[in-house]
């Protein structure tokens, strides 16, 4: 996982609450066994008409949004299905961070695990960012070390757990880290009660 400590870039406003992962990446794109190639299908059904041509009124299709790095969205972003493909699609489109008033639990974990920065700000601050993003094409800067978001006329602190922050800043391989606890793991396994399930017998 690539480390991330600072993101500076233009914003894309998506002023909707409860954006579910089915919208972020619809089911027909989950059939591939690869981990990449999802970016072009981001918000596919909103971004395309019935015959598959790009919808001119969808924000991601605005040529001026090309190269944007930060998605600004409403509360409970990423609810529903656990599909990590949703976080992959957002990252592979080119986004490095999502700012929203709140995130669904599984989506937040998935985002952190792939180095896509989920930033939670209060509704008022997100509303201010949405307004800036809708009218201008100015940049926002997210500094994970200082835990700040800076944009035109706005400077906000944000909260993030110490472990998530460390993982993102150092691009840590969680599996490697866990396997360093082999002794604790093996000890736990010997204490495990016999009545718990075994799938091979």
């Amino acid at each position: 996982m690539k480390p991330v400590s600072k993101v500076t870039g233009r914003m894309v406003p998506l002023d909707r609450a409860d954006v579910d992962t089915d919208q972020i990446i619809p089911q027909q794109f989950l059939k591939r066994i690869e981990r990449d190639g999802y970016g072009e299908f981001l918000f596919y059904n909103w971004a395309h008409t019935d015959d598959g041509t790009p919808s001119s009124d969808f924000v991601l299709n605005d040529p001026k949004r090309e190269g944007a790095k930060v998605l600004i969205a409403g509360p409970n972003f990423g609810c529903g299905s656990s599909r990590e493909h949703a976080a992959w699609a957002i990252q592979q489109w080119g986004f490095e961070a999502v700012i929203a008033p709140s995130f669904a639990d599984i989506f937040r974990n998935n985002a952190i695990n792939i180095g896509l920065l989920p930033v939670e700000l209060d509704e008022e601050a997100v509303r201010a960012l949405l307004e800036v993003a809708e009218t201008h094409h100015s940049e926002v800067t997210i500094d994970l070390i200082e835990q700040t978001v800076r944009a035109e006329g706005l400077e906000e602190q944000f909260e993030i757990s110490v472990s998530a922050r460390n993982r993102l800043i150092h691009g840590l391989d969680a599996i490697g880290e866990t396997l360093q606890h082999e002794r604790a793991l093996s000890a736990f396994e010997t204490r495990r009660p016999d009545w718990l399930p075994i799938t091979t017998s």
């Binding site: 609450a17 066994i33 019935d50 409970n76 990590e84 998935n110 866990t178 799938t199 091979t200 017998s201």
Partner: protein, 469 residues
């Protein structure tokens, strides 16, 4: 005297390998399927790692497989590749696999309980958000992403921040004709689609204790639709009777030890919850969803709401967009809405009791001529049982198509796609835009309500329907 603990706290504490924030938790059962595991196996193998505990892992295929013509194989080349990848990975790593031709194949959340793998006090994960289903047994069960699937394969553990606790107290008795599905839709309508975020819900109270295991699974299954990390119900005699004697259930001394451990799991009387809500079961009626998220429901005897009735501007905006997608006008009585399809199945309502409830409603009747109705049993075992009980004949005589087990139209990854612009009464869990196919319009209902709608061609209040029969 130790501090009183909730069911969740007890199960959590029993699985902590490293007590930090987040904690490292040991996973007792890892369920895998074809859609969210291939990239995890690929990652594992690229790093030269192996599966730590194949004996605590079980695979089945459900999401993208056909429900007809299985002897011909999977036609969709991408789905075939995905299923083949899971078969191959399971073989290579020594993981038990309930494949397409196995009589135990089915939806992962139906199969685990049915085989006796799901049990009280266990920590269960799966790369699927409806893993919350298994909480019905007093297990701590939640959905994870693919990176986490890889982490569990390699280490049998997960780093997790400790969620808060939420009690949902359901007192009173569910009225006749009101299903577990209506109860959970009622709870979600009350707490909203993010009311449970960062929380593990414990469903308690008289109405919950009265539920069968199938009904409890329907409740816990949709915990995620209220945003919760997991949903749990205290194990009791109903739970123990369900588990006992199943293929993988503990036996002999292990069974005795299990019962002793499980009987200690229910929340202590004075245990505190971070948040609580209560619902009076006796006031509930059958629900139908009108919108594009599972909180957008109304009682069947009500009408499509007006966006103006929502105070919160975001919810008002969401309601207006939902009505446009659903092609519904405010004020339309729900019972005037005509349907084109009925889907009976899914990990929410694809179990034997669900099929019995639906069969009871349609017995001796016919599906409306303009409705296409399908039953997709949750597992091949459910299918076999329904055939043995004569339910399959009831469905086929009424004009339902009788299929093989899988997720099917719940998420339309297989050929069972609802065409754009058409309306489906569905016993599944999500009515999101495009969930059952691009442009498809989903209305969530209970199995009995879906069956009655199939016959009538529009939504009906099943309480009056059954009374009239």
């Amino acid at each position: 005297m130790t501090r009183p603990k909730t069911l969740f706290q007890k199960v959590w504490d029993q699985h902590v390998v490293i007590d930090e924030d987040p904690s490292l938790l040991y996973v007792d059962l890892h369920l895998i399927h074809e859609v969210t595991s291939p990239q995890a196996f690929a990652g594992l193998e690229q790093s030269g790692r192996s599966v730590r505990r194949p004996d605590l892992t079980v695979a089945t295929v459900d999401h993208a497989i056909p429900t007809t013509g299985r002897s011909l194989g999977i036609r969709d080349p991408l789905s075939k590749k995905q299923v083949d990848a899971l078969v191959e990975s399971s073989r290579r790593h020594g993981i038990t696999m309930f494949g397409l031709d196995d009589p135990r194949q089915g939806i992962v959340h139906v199969v685990g309980p049915e085989q006796g793998l799901t049990r009280p006090g266990a920590l269960i994960v799966c790369g699927d958000s409806h893993t919350s289903t298994h909480g019905a047994f007093g297990a701590l069960a939640f959905g994870i992403g693919t990176t986490e699937v890889e982490h569990v394969l390699a280490t049998q553990t997960l780093w997790q921040a400790r969620p808060a606790t939420m009690a949902v107290d359901v007192e009173g008795v569910l009225p006749w004709g009101v299903a577990a599905k209506d109860l959970i839709l009622g709870i979600i309508a009350k707490i909203g689609v993010s009311g449970g975020t960062k929380h593990v819900i414990e469903y308690r109270g008289e109405a919950i204790r009265d539920l069968s295991m199938e009904q409890r699974m329907t409740i816990c299954n949709m915990s995620i639709e209220g945003g919760a990390r997991a949903g749990m119900i205290a194990p009791d005699e109903t739970t123990f009777r369900y588990v006992e004697g199943r293929p993988y259930a503990p036996t002999g001394k292990h069974w005795e030890d299990a019962l002793e451990a499980w009987s200690k799991l229910p929340s202590d009387p004075d245990a505190e919850f971070d948040k609580s809500v209560s619902i009076d079961a006796s006031s509930l009626v059958p629900h139908v969803s009108w919108g594009v998220n599972p909180s957008q429901t109304v009682p069947v005897n009500d009408a499509v709401p007006s966006p103006d009735s929502f105070e919160d501007p975001l919810q008002r905006d969401a309601a207006a967009r939902a009505l446009s997608y659903m092609a519904l006008k405010p004020g339309t009585p729900m019972q005037d809405i005509k349907i084109d399809h009925v889907f009976l199945g899914s990990c929410t309502n694809g179990r034997i009791e669900d099929l019995r409830a639906a069969a009871k409603v349609i017995e001796g009747r016919k599906v409306d001529s303009r409705v296409s109705a399908v039953v997709v049993p949750g597992s091949m075992q459910v299918k076999a049982q329904a055939e043995a009980e004569g339910l399959a004949d009831v469905f086929t005589s009424a004009g339902f198509s009788w299929r093989d087990a899988g997720c099917s139209s719940c998420l339309a990854m297989n050929p069972d796609v609802i065409p754009s612009g058409e309306r489906c009464a569905s016993t599944s869990n999500r009515n999101y835009e495009g969930r059952q196919g691009r442009g498809a319009r989903t209305h969530l209902v209970s199995p009995a309500m879906a069956a009655a709608a199939a016959v009538a061609g529009h939504f009906v209040d099943v309480r009056q329907w059954e009374g009239a029969s």
